[in-house]
Point group: C2
Chain length 492, copies 2
């Protein structure tokens, strides 16, 4: 398999590759920019087999550097820029990155990082001389090219290893599902540090398709640019889609817009109905970092009839639903969702135990609960480890609980997602005090120090004890009932 | 990777899959037909790992049986139905097929087959009861699914082994090149026993795209069906394209028609100009059985500017040009064309020696001569082993020479392609007699017995001696010069 960006620059040098803040880069230009960065990175002494962590926002330079790392065969640990210094320090230490490349806007965050990694800002990197630009002529599909951290039930985040092959197959499976037109343009307002955004960059190289990149999500600019550039596809989560609809008002999107790819959990009925009214084709998807993005997708013609479904596994993908003994359950019965396919990670960085536990016989045990209906459409009932999805960000309760439990005077802590109009969900905490002096303010201050802002509990409930089963496992379902009762009490 | 046809029937059961002689089959129907044949084949005692040879014309039932073999994991030796009984016997023996499934229309041919293989006609197969329909739930990309014979410099044909992965990658590379629209329909008038036709069936399953299948090429029906079914893509060789243009006369193809995929050698300028006049986008391609079809393609916008070029290698593919020492030559210089990619065969059936010779370090040595221009566009100058391409069929001179030399009284024989208006090329033979009694009629009779009709020399030239170099290698270039002189002499 040839070097993707080089091949693309050879096949369609003058085609538009990237549009950012009014500037358009062709594939040849992007290739030249990335090649130059390969040289600069070489000057740092980095090359094939090394690991570079990056702390980026959505910028054109971020794309060039990500492409440079991929071309050079340097594994990129792509950090979530919303994490705290403490969270970043942990991931840098765990990944044993050789260098951290960061945007100057994150200076403060980086200055507090406790890991012993070498730092270089993108400004400084840009000023370095180009060394030998040694890049791979061919990609080995089994080589790891990116590492993205996700959390889980048990405290510390795990680095998901994604190979060139994973990304390749993901892009191809997506094309077989959504089609591939030579006038396609994909609007990316989701973070490129998430697989949802990064996968758009991979599709761009492989399809020869322009990406319109926004540094943040702003619904006004979204609607403007969809019209201006005749965007055909966009990736969103429900909150974004709602905001686009509000912004549109009585207007419609241009006819050329053909796919709203909706991730991060099922969309509510009124939202889907509004989209149908406006002729916006919504493709609801199920995917995760471990599946290198889109894994199952529901075509728009089914969006009402199969409300709440994430559709069927893409062409190269397979889904099974198993019970707690690992036995397949009949259609319609609930169980754990298992996924298999060439876009599924082969494991977690430096975690052979977790890898062996979660991936058996090439089947990834997602921890998500769901079922297949009589015609094989997937319904996801509960995200793994009681995952909270807030504005498209994954939040793992166990991580927040760990922070809260570390506070002296907190005897027990339980976190769940509460429904939220703007963010779909926000975390809320239930606390059992052992010391009556513990205050909400003190807990919040601790969380602010330890956790990214979107993970901060929006409300603290102080209770006598938490519902736990005989094995002392927290029964989050009970907590959700308490929360509903609380809501009812407040007249919601 | 899931079973393609089953997955497709699951994802889009009601989409059109196959249109043949006015009858439309959905993917679910095709899957059910193929599943039924899996059962019938099971009744014959055949299953995964076995080998079945097939002697088919382009029929709906042929497609169902080919799909059944693929689903069952039975290797299909797909025979060219234009071969003689003797040629077929040889391939059946070489492939050691467990059974030959043939259409009754080939009864005569089959009755003269000398190989000890078991036969069953498709009529009889159809009447068998369905046994257990045991098909593969998943395909292993490295498993061989088809074997197609090609000849070469050295006498006997070789069975090219094509894996599930080869076909998968070929279909994906083609989609990345030509795009993939949900209204695409592919017209197949080329034989499904050739990779050009078989690859259309693979694309159909993988893309979820209807194939309009014709049993033979008839330009009138082609133009009719392109209009009737709103065909978007068609595979042709030059002769077919010329005939379509003549049939069209002053008419044009509908606007929905978006790709004329032209294989079998470069098209002459006047033909391309006529296509431009009529707004027919011609994609000239280079490919072979060993690359599981399309390998390099020239986009229509370059068809005049890069006249005679086959374009650039598709996204997953690489091309090198090397000299006789295997060293890369500079751009612009001639040499042997080497190809590499996931759609390239890993070898020839039961021929480890030939495989080792032709495939080194994953690079297939095509034997074709060509060069890359300064921008990397491929020009094919001479097909391997002085291949003659006649109406889309490959003819290897060595095979015809072998037959001629077997005749008592023939001292030497050389075959080359002569230009032909209708077929692009036809074989002609140069003969050195050792016995003056040898007649053209006798030689032709021998050829008719031994060789498929399209391989018969259209003319015999009796000469004193053949041009051979010091190593006694036949200088076919000299023969071509003789032929041109001959043509001039005849006032052409």
């Amino acid at each position: 398999m040839p070097n993707w960006l080089k091949k693309r620059a050879d096949l369609s040098p003058n085609r538009e590759a990237l549009i950012f803040e009014g500037h358009t880069y062709t594939f040849l230009e992007v290739f030249e920019k990335a090649s130059s960065y390969v040289g600069k990175i070489g000057t740092l002494g980095l090359g094939k087999g090394k690991t570079a962590a990056v702390l980026f926002s959505n910028q054109a330079e971020s794309v060039f550097i990500l492409y440079a790392l991929q071309m050079a065969g340097i594994k990129a640990v792509i950090l979530n820029n919303r994490l705290t210094s403490e969270e970043l320090s942990w991931q840098l230490g765990d990944s044993d990155a050789d260098v951290l490349v960061y945007e100057s806007r994150f200076d403060d965050k980086v200055s507090s990082i406790s890991s012993e990694v070498n730092f270089i800002s993108t400004d400084k990197l840009k000023q370095l001389e180009d060394g030998d630009s040694v890049f791979l002529e061919e990609y080995d599909m089994d080589d790891v090219t990116t590492i993205m951290y996700t959390s889980g039930t048990t405290g510390n985040p795990k680095g998901v290893m994604q190979t060139y092959g994973n990304h390749w197959w993901s892009a191809n499976a997506s094309a077989l599902n959504l089609g591939l037109h030579d006038y396609d343009k994909w609007l990316c307002t989701v973070p490129i540090f998430h697989i949802s955004g990064y996968s758009i960059l991979m599709r761009s190289q492989i399809y020869g398709m322009p990406v319109i990149l926004h540094s943040t999500f702003e619904e006004k600019k979204v609607v403007e640019d969809i019209r201006k550039y005749q965007v055909t596809v966009m990736s969103v989560v429900s909150t974004m889609l709602s905001r686009v609809l509000v912004e549109l008002g009585t207007r419609k999107l241009p006819d050329s817009f053909r796919c709203m790819l909706l991730g991060g959990g099922p969309a509510p009925l009124p939202l889907l109905e509004s989209c149908i009214d406006k002729g916006i084709p919504v493709f609801q998807t199920y995917g995760m970092t471990e599946t290198s993005s889109q894994f199952a997708t529901l075509s728009p013609e089914y969006s009402i009839e199969r409300l709440g479904s994430a559709g069927k596994a893409l062409f190269p993908n397979l889904i099974r639903i198993v019970d707690s003994d690992g036995q397949d359950v009949p259609l319609g019965a609930e169980g754990e969702i298992l996924v298999k396919g060439p876009n599924v990670t082969y494991g977690y960085l430096n975690r052979p135990d977790v890898t062996a536990d979660k991936i058996r016989n090439k089947w990834l045990h997602t921890g998500d609960i769901g079922y297949l209906d009589s015609e094989g459409f997937l319904y996801v009932l509960d995200r793994r480890s009681d995952l909270i999805i807030s504005g498209g960000e994954n939040i793992y309760p166990a991580e927040i609980e760990g922070v809260l439990l570390s506070y002296p005077g907190v005897a027990d802590a339980g976190v769940i997602g509460a429904p939220d109009e703007k963010w779909q969900q926000v975390p809320v905490a239930f606390i059992v005090k052992s010391d009556s002096g513990v205050s909400e303010e003190a807990l919040l201050a601790l969380c602010e120090e330890k956790l990214a802002k979107y993970k901060l509990p929006k409300k603290f409930y102080f209770v006598e004890s938490l519902p736990r089963n005989a094995a002392k496992k927290l029964l989050r379902r009970k907590l959700r009932e308490w929360l509903e009762a609380e809501g009812d009490g407040n007249g919601h």
